[in-house]
Amino acid sequence: MNKLTLAPLGALLLAAAAIAPAHAADQKLVAVTAIVRHPALDAVRDGIQDGLKADGYVVGKNLKWEYQDAQGNPGIAAQIARKFIGDQPSVIVAIATPSAQAVVAASKTVPVVFSAVTDPVAAKLVPSWDASKTNVTGVSDLLPLEPQMDLLKKVVPNAKRVGMVYDPGETNSTVVVKALREMLPKMGMTLVTAAAPRTVDVSSAARSLVGKVDVIYTNTDNNVVSAYEALVKVGEEAKIPLVASDTDSVKRGAVAALGINYHDLGEQTGHMVARILKGEKPGDIKPEVSTKMRLFVNPGAAKKQGITLSDALIKSANQVVE
C-alpha cells in the first residue's frame, strides 16, 4: 500500500463528508422501489398512490414520492436500498421479493412495507404472519390455488394435462409448481412444466408444450408476465387456451384469470402505508394477503385459442374484455 493508493481513497472520503445531509421537509416522503418494471408491478406502484390519495395523502401536496427500479439487477437494488435509507423517508415500500430483501437487510429501523411478495415468511422478511414487532410489514400476493383450478376446469371442462411455463429461478413460481404437483392428480389432471429462465425463453418453452397439454396455466411469474404476448402467439397458433392468474394478462390475450388485480393490491398497500404515516408502528400491523379476487374473461381470445366460454362463466365475471 503506497501513498498513491491512499490519495484517491482519501479524496473519496472527503467527497462523502462534503455531501449534504438529508433534507428535513414538512412533506412526508414515501420511497418506492421495485426490482424490475412490468405491467403488474407498475399497477402495484400506481395503486399505492391511489390508496394513499384515498386516505388523504396526495403526491405533490402533502406527500413526496420517490420511485426507483433496479432494472432487474440485485447490485443496483442494494444501492437503491442504501440511497433510500439515507433519504430518511417516512416509509420505504419495496415491491417484489429481491427488492424487499435488499431493503430489509439494509435497515432495522426505517419502516418498510413490502408488496407483491408471495411468501414473506420464507423470504425471511417477517418471522411469521403475525405482527412482526420489527420495522417490517406488508401485503402478500399469495393466491389460493383451488379456486383457480376450478376456474381452469370451467374454461376447459375436459382438460387432463395442464401445462405451465415458469422461471425456475423465481421463488414465487417454484412454490406454485410444487403445490400443483400435489394438487392436480387429486383433481384427475397432470402437470407438464416448461422452464423459461429468461424472458426470451418464454416462446420456446411454450412451443415445447404444444401437443402435450390441453391448457396452459401461468402464475404471476415475472418472466412470463413480461413476455405474455409470446405465450399468446403460441396459444393462438396451436389452439391451446391460456389461463392466467393476474387479470392484466387477460387484456393481453389470456382467456380468463381469477386473480388479484395488482392495482387493488397496490391500493391495499397504500392504505397500510397511510396507517404508518398516521403514526402506527409497522411492527404492530399484521402482514396481509389480498382479499379481493376478481374474475376477468376474454371471449375474443377464447375464440382465437379454439374454445368458447360458457354463458354462465361470462356472466359471473367481474369484467369481460372485448
Partner: protein, 296 residues
Amino acid sequence: MNLFSFFGALEIGLIYSLVALGVFISFRLLRFPDLTVDGSFATGGAVCAVMIAGGHSPLASTIAATLVGAFTGLVTGWLNVKLKIMDLLASILVMIALYSVNLRIMGGPNVPIINTPTLFTQLQPAAMTDYVFRPLMLLGVVILAKLIMDWFFLTEKGLAIRATGTNARMARSQGVNTGRMILLGMAISNGLVGLAGALFVQSQGGSDVSMGIGTIVIGLAAVIVGENILPSRRLTMSTLAVILGAIIYRLFIALALDSNFIGLQAQDLNLVTAVLVTVALIIPQLKRRLARKSRD
C-alpha cells in the same frame, strides 16, 4: 448522493472490485475471454448462503465459496485446455450450466440469510455502525487480496501465467506448461469472483439465482474505467486501477440514482450510468489532446 448511498456504493464497489481483479487476471494477464464469472459469482453466493443458513460458520462458508468458485474456473480451463473447446465458448458453457447448478445448490431460487450471523456482524465492533464498518472491513479484504496478487504475479509461477497470456508459444519454448498455467490462472480468477459472491450475499442478506447476471459486464467496465483513469504498465498500479474502477463505477450508479432532479426517471438509470462511464473514459483523451494543443 447521501451518506448512506455513498457508503453503500463504496461497499458494493469494493465487493465488485474483487470481481474486477478476477476479470483482470483472465482478460488481461491470461488473455482468456472468460464469461464464467456470471455463473461463478452466483455460485459463490449460493454456496455461502446455503452453508450459513445450514448453521456453518460464516468464515468456513466464505472459504468454501471461494474454493467452489475456483473449481468452476478450473472446469472452464479444463474444457479449453483438455477438450480444445474455444475459450469464449468454454466459458459460456460453464456459465449457463452454473445457472442450473446454482438452483440445485440452493434447492430453490432464493436463500435468505437476513437475521443470521455473517462475517460482517461477527467482526463488527459495538461502537461502529454497520454501514460504516462493512466498507471498512471490505477495504481490508480488498487491499489484502491486491497485495497477495501483486506478490504472487512476481513469483516464478505468477510470471509463468503472465508469460502464457502474453505469448504462449514463447512461454512453451521456455519450458512453461501453458495448459497448467491457464488452469491455475482461471482458478485464481474465479476464486476471487466466488469470494466476491460470498461477501455480496452476506452484505445483502441473501442469495438469489439472478444475482450473477451482468457480473462480467460490471467487471469489465471496472477494468477498463480503471485503466483509463490510471494508465500504467506496472502490475501494482494496474491492480489498484482496477479496484478504483469498480468503486467509481458504483459511485456513478449512486449518482445516476440521484439524477431525477434534472427530469430523468428511474427507467433512465442504465443510460445515465453508461453516459457517466463514457465521460470518464474520454476525459483522459481530452486532457491529452489539450496538453498537445498547448504544446503546439
